[in-house]
């Protein structure tokens, strides 16, 4: 197992040595000592960082692939086999086409849930980001609280949220909804805070100086400044959430993900492939649409 992994390493090691010697040559050339001292130290530092990163990455790869009993070469070798399997079994046939209406219904359910979740989360996130930004100087304590809460929601992945919520809601659309909601809310709150701080700090200061109230500043200064960036983020999150909700659907037994899981377990590979194709088509269509919208609003 391990020795197979080490097979590639002598070559890598030789390449590494040659890089090292080249770097050393570059440094050992005579220079005016005082002027170049600072530069040289930057180069040595960079070299050291480079070496360190290489060692860390190599160790991580060796240790983790040994632990997971994963072998890159075996993995690559299985690719052609997998490809042949996909092209022979995962092809929709006539019988599977009769399932198309059911598949499309489930798919649209998943898409609409993803859109609804994103929009709800974005509205909440925008409200909280107004409390979390330091530009409006509402309340520094509250701002810090919002940032901490957002960081918490963001750092728990949506799949973990789904697993946790399975206990309280069971296998239910609500589980998927809230799992995506929490993750999206956390991410968007943080992003919106950063956007507001970055894009509108100057004009908030100016409007503040004219004696405008906080609400006026929000509607006349912040919203116009950040709207296009925020819409762009919402579109991106809709795309992401459609993908995520497909996977979460397998977990919560809802939507298109579950449909796929069912066909797959019933070995109805033709219908399963139809699901895959439908998802790909919808994802691409939505990506194209949102790119168009983004171009218009920017």
């Amino acid at each position: 197992m391990l020795d197979k992994l080490f097979k590639i390493s002598p070559r890598a090691w030789r390449a590494w040595l040659s890089i090292q010697s080249r770097l050393n040559k570059g440094n050992s050339q005579p220079e005016k000592p005082q002027q170049k001292e600072k530069q040289t130290s930057i180069f040595t530092k960079r070299k050291r960082v480079f070496t360190l990163v290489f060692i860390v990455v190599a160790t991580l790869y060796l240790v983790s692939s040994a632990a997971a009993e994963f072998n890159l070469i075996d993995g690559l070798e299985s690719f052609p086999k997998a490809f042949i399997w996909i092209t022979t079994y995962l092809v929709p046939d006539e019988k599977s086409l009769s399932n198309l209406p059911a598949i499309l219904a489930k798919l649209s359910e998943t898409v609409f849930v993803a859109i609804a979740v994103t929009v709800c989360a974005a509205l909440c996130a925008f409200f909280f980001s107004l409390l979390g930004t330091t530009t409006t100087k509402t309340n520094p304590w509250l701002a810090r609280m919002v940032r901490v809460v957002a960081a918490f929601f963001r750092n728990v992945p949506d799949v973990v949220w789904a697993m946790l919520l399975l206990f309280s809601f069971g296998q239910n659309v609500l589980t998927g909804f809230f799992a995506l909601f929490f993750a999206t809310f956390g991410l968007l709150t943080r992003t919106f805070i950063e956007t507001i701080d970055e894009v509108s700090a100057d004009c908030v200061e100016a409007l503040n100086a004219t004696g405008a109230t906080t609400l006026q500043i929000v509607f006349q200064g912040i919203i116009p400044s950040v709207l296009s960036v925020i819409i762009s983020w919402i579109l991106y999150m809709i795309e992401t959430n459609i993908r995520a909700s497909t996977l979460i659907g397998i977990l919560t037994a809802t939507g298109i993900g579950y449909q796929f899981d069912m066909y797959y377990k019933m070995m109805n590979y033709a219908s399963a492939s139809l699901v895959v194709i439908a998802i790909v088509v919808v994802v691409i269509a939505i990506e194209i649409t949102s790119t168009r919208i983004r171009k218009v609003i920017m």
Partner: protein, 259 residues
């Protein structure tokens, strides 16, 4: 009332974060209609002086009297009153770039409106007429409906001026209004400020990095070094030696010494 100074600093000190001393014991006063420049090296506290006036920062010690009221201990409502009556012009213009010129000019009225009509951007016909009048005076009529991010720096700064005039202020604070502009746009801006000061009797307090500009336009110059006033008087008596003292440098070290 007209004899009393419009603005008075009495022994004002400001310490940021309990560590950085930005102003120490600053005292001066402005008569109504004056055109005063503040010069001084970077970090000497010029911006801090302006920001203490409209309470974007709070002075730590001393009192600031604006229009007969001590504003250094003002509550929220009084701060609002002060801000309504003082315009501010920034080095980086600080416009809402994605809105049109006319909308930015009308923002000058926000302090005078109810929160709700400000939120939805509901302005009276009279206010709109006035906004166009001001734009015409500043030579921006053709730009009125353009988005601000389509304007040049000089045009943006004129929008900034228009916004502050729209407030009908008693005092305009300018924080390095020409620091990002080329010499010819700089002249246009300084001429407009000077013109506003004379025709509308609005007091102007201007932070400048260009000593020559300060000498040419203002009738009074305040020199400040490390948070302390080291010169306060007309341009005529601002000798080269005092300029070196303000900038804490020796002969030949200033850009003005070139040529």
């Amino acid at each position: 009332m007209s004899d009393a100074p419009i603005l008075e600093f009495k022994n004002v000190s400001k310490t940021y974060n309990k560590i950085t001393k930005a102003l120490s014991d600053v005292s001066f006063s402005l008569e109504e209609g004056e055109f005063v420049s503040i010069i001084g090296p970077s970090g000497s506290g010029k911006s801090t002086i302006l920001r203490c006036i409209n309470r974007l920062v709070d002075a730590t010690e001393g009192s600031i009297i604006f229009d007969g009221h001590d504003i250094s201990r003002a509550d929220k409502r009084e701060i609002h009153q002060v801000r309504k009556k003082t315009g501010m012009i920034f080095q980086h213009y600080n416009l809402v770039n994605r809105l049109s010129v006319i909308e930015n000019v009308l923002h000058g009225r926000l302090g005078h409106k109810s929160t709700l009509s400000g939120v939805v951007g509901l302005y009276t016909e009279k206010e709109k007429e006035r906004a166009f009048e001001i734009l015409e005076k500043l030579g921006l009529t053709e730009q009125a409906y353009k988005r601000c991010d389509e304007l040049s720096g000089g045009q943006k700064q004129r929008v900034g001026i228009a916004r502050s005039i729209m407030q009908e202020p008693r005092l305009i604070l300018c924080d390095e209004p020409i620091a990002s502009l080329d010499p010819s746009s700089s002249k246009v801006i300084m001429d407009h400020l000077s013109n506003i000061n004379q025709t509308m009797n609005i007091t102007c307090l201007i932070n400048l990095h260009q000593v020559q500009v300060a000498l040419k336009y203002s009738r009074r110059i305040i020199g400040i070094t490390s948070g302390q006033i080291v010169y306060d008087g007309p341009p005529e008596t601002l000798t080269q030696d005092i300029i070196y003292e303000i900038y804490q440098s020796k002969e030949g070290e200033l850009i003005t010494d070139v040529g």
